[in-house]
């Protein structure tokens, strides 16, 4: 059965929130609640109460990146020093700790930052294809709710959304 997208715009977050609550409660056939996406001009972390904990995994990237960066830094540097001891520094060991720790720290940060950003792109799914329905109003001041549902469920959903003072509803053209 073919699915269609529907975007509703709300004036404020409370309305959108209420609409989402109702959609979840309504348990409409042909509509999976996970297919609901909230679009907002600023971050509303309250939305997690409504949508449920959709976890962010960026931290794991950060951890791995920072550790790898640090380890790589230390071993790369110490290894390079150990294999290049023709260039001795008088009065210093071939593998000296203090300078290596400084560089290890820098590599730790570098790895952490780079991999975190990578993790962000991966987790947030960026760069992304534009979703089928979008309104520039979302980046201004309105809240958008994008749902994907079976053709059959569309009308019901629309009803719910309109109930909560949706300003405008965009529908994907039928196929």
């Amino acid at each position: 059965m073919s699915q269609r997208h529907l975007l509703a715009l709300f004036n404020n977050f409370e309305d959108a929130e209420a609409a989402i609550y109702e959609l979840r409660a309504a348990d409409i056939k042909g509509f999976d609640f996970d297919d609901l996406t909230l679009k907002s001009p600023i971050e509303h972390h309250e939305v997690e109460d409504v949508l449920g904990q959709r976890s962010a995994k960026v931290q794991w990237f950060t951890l791995v990146g920072a550790l790898l960066g640090g380890l790589l830094g230390f071993f790369l540097i110490s290894g390079a020093q150990a294999n290049f001891y023709a260039q001795i520094k008088g009065g210093k060991p071939i593998v000296p700790f203090p300078p290596n720790f400084v560089l290890t720290f820098e590599m730790f940060v570098l790895g952490g930052v780079f991999i975190s950003v990578l993790g962000f792109l991966v987790c947030a799914g960026l760069p992304a294809k534009r979703s089928p329905l979008y309104s520039a109003k979302v980046s201004e001041d309105q809240i958008g709710i994008l749902v994907k549902a079976d053709e059959s469920a569309i009308a019901k959903i629309k009803g719910v959304l309109l109930n909560h003072e949706a300003l405008e509803i965009q529908e994907e053209a039928g196929k």
Binding site: T37, L38, K39, S40, P41, I42, E43, H44, H45, V47, E48, L51, R54, A56, V58, Q59, T62, A66, L76, I77, A80, Q81, N83, F84, Q87, K89, P96, P99, V102, L103, F105, E106, M107, V109, L110, G112, V113, F114, S116, V117, G119, F120, L121, C123, A124, G125, L126, P127, A128, K129, R130, S131, Y134, A136, V138, S139, E140, D141, G144, L146
Partner: protein, 454 residues
């Protein structure tokens, strides 16, 4: 005092900020041209120096470093306050930073890029610059990881790339706004490309928040480490006047100090030019000014600590340098540094001065002059008056080539900053919205509480 209103329309925020991206006025082009010309002077000096040799800078043995390194430290210092505002204050949930951190962060990036140039023009064989990079080669030659200069290179690379990422990541939602509001053209294409398809979905926002916070966590210690490492260039050496334990905090304080005064300068300029009075309010300015004042006192204190520890130590060579600084050839500059760095900021203690824009503008410029002198006064006295009296030399002054490049660096920085202001929103729109939203929520909550009390 007037602050950002909680009832400001979000659409107006978009409108106001996007207006700053509109086609520039004539004056913009004139200033940009001047900046370009100044940068051209620097380029010309560098080309001449590259072809003739570093001798044209009027450096000598042993007076081997000059304004290049001083100005390098100056620009590195400039970069610090951007991070302070964007990362450290972010972690502290200081909301007032939101309207101003974007340009501060840009300032960080561009002053790092300027500082990088000075490393290039300083070295004798620019064409072999890549030797200092740790790339694997068939001969197994690596750079010297023990050298503070290499730590410097590494730290600056890390800092610059992290700052760029931080600036960029934090700008993605705003780029999406730009994309949505631009007519077709190169700008639209650019914003479409850079906004990576941002639509403000809940998933995007969620990961965005975590990432932004994480980078901020990394950036704060990184910024501190960068300037301590620059301090290590000196403190790790054996020279009198440099081999000082308090150098790293002293440098960090100096960096924050010059950065904050740089922010005040740019704040005032942007506020005036883009008519951002509604966003860059005087109450924010007041907060920065107070911060600057606090840092200036820390800097003064660390300065005093340095002098005191030298004075009460048994290190005659360092003592000589201190005396030399205060009474010798460089005394006018050294006292100028004390005046600009420790006396001038006292005006900021007065409430009336804290919001008096012309006064602040003048003071911020003087502070930065003082901080530049500070860097020069670290370099010059030690080179002219080191351990070995036979080689003491107080007669060497920077040549016009050196001054030309210092001058050019300001042109380069101005140019980068001006281009940035016209291409990217210099006020973070989504965060101003957040600020407004949080305020209205707060207001509503207190209203409800009031009602409940009734």
């Amino acid at each position: 005092m007037k602050d950002i209103r909680e009832d400001i329309a979000w659409a107006k925020i978009n409108q106001d900020v996007l207006k700053s991206l509109e086609n520039p006025r004539k004056l913009y082009w004139v200033i940009l041209f001047c900046a370009l010309a100044a940068f051209g002077v620097g380029i010309g000096c560098e080309v001449y120096q590259y072809q003739t040799g570093l001798g044209v800078a009027n450096l000598n043995n042993p007076y081997a470093w000059g304004l290049y390194i001083s100005t390098f430290i100056f620009w590195i210092g400039m970069s610090h306050s951007g991070t302070l505002l964007s990362a450290i204050l972010h972690l502290m949930h200081a909301d007032w930073r939101k309207p101003i951190y974007r340009f501060a962060e840009a300032m960080t990036t561009f002053s790092l890029m300027t500082a990088g140039l000075f490393v290039m023009v300083h070295i004798g064989r620019l064409w072999q610059f890549y030797y200092s990079l740790p790339y694997p080669s068939e001969r197994g030659i690596w750079p010297n990881f023990q050298s503070p200069l290499l730590w410097d290179a590494m730290a600056i690379f890390t800092y610059l790339s992290s700052s760029i990422l931080f600036l960029y990541v934090g700008m993605i939602p705003d780029l999406a706004i730009c994309r949505d509001n631009m007519h077709e053209g190169w700008r639209k294409k650019l914003y479409t490309l850079l906004s990576l398809g941002w639509e403000g979905t809940d998933r995007q926002w969620r990961n965005f928040r975590v990432t932004y916070l994480t980078i901020a966590c990394f950036l704060s210690p990184l910024a501190v480490s960068v300037h301590s490492i620059v301090a290590s260039d000196f403190a790790m050496s054996q020279q009198p006047g440099w081999h000082v334990t308090s150098f790293p905090p002293y440098f960090v304080a100096g960096a924050l100090y010059s950065g904050c005064s740089g922010i005040i300068t740019l704040f005032i300029i942007l506020r005036y030019v883009f008519k951002f009075e509604e966003y860059m309010t005087k109450s924010i300015l007041k907060k920065i000014v107070r911060l600057t004042f606090a840092i200036s006192m820390i800097w003064t204190y660390l300065n005093a600590v340095e002098f005191a520890s030298v004075w009460y130590s048994n290190d005659q060579a360092s003592k000589d340098i201190l005396i030399q600084k205060a009474t010798g050839t460089y005394a006018p500059f050294w006292w100028g540094m004390i005046f600009c760095g420790s006396i001038v900021p006292l005006t900021l203690a007065f409430k009336r001065a804290q919001t008096n824009i012309p006064v602040l503008f003048a003071v911020s410029l003087l502070l930065n002059l003082g901080m530049w002198l500070e860097r020069w006064m670290i370099i010059a006295p030690t080179f002219s008056h080191g351990y070995y009296p036979w080689t003491w030399d107080h007669d060497q002054w920077p040549s016009l080539i050196q001054w030309g490049m210092v001058f050019g660096s300001f042109g380069w920085f101005t140019m980068l900053f001006m281009v940035f202001c016209k291409v990217f929103p210099s006020v973070s729109m989504y965060e101003v919205k957040e600020m407004v939203y949080h305020r209205s929520l707060h207001l509503k909550k207190s209203e409800t509480a009031e009602q409940g009390a009734h």
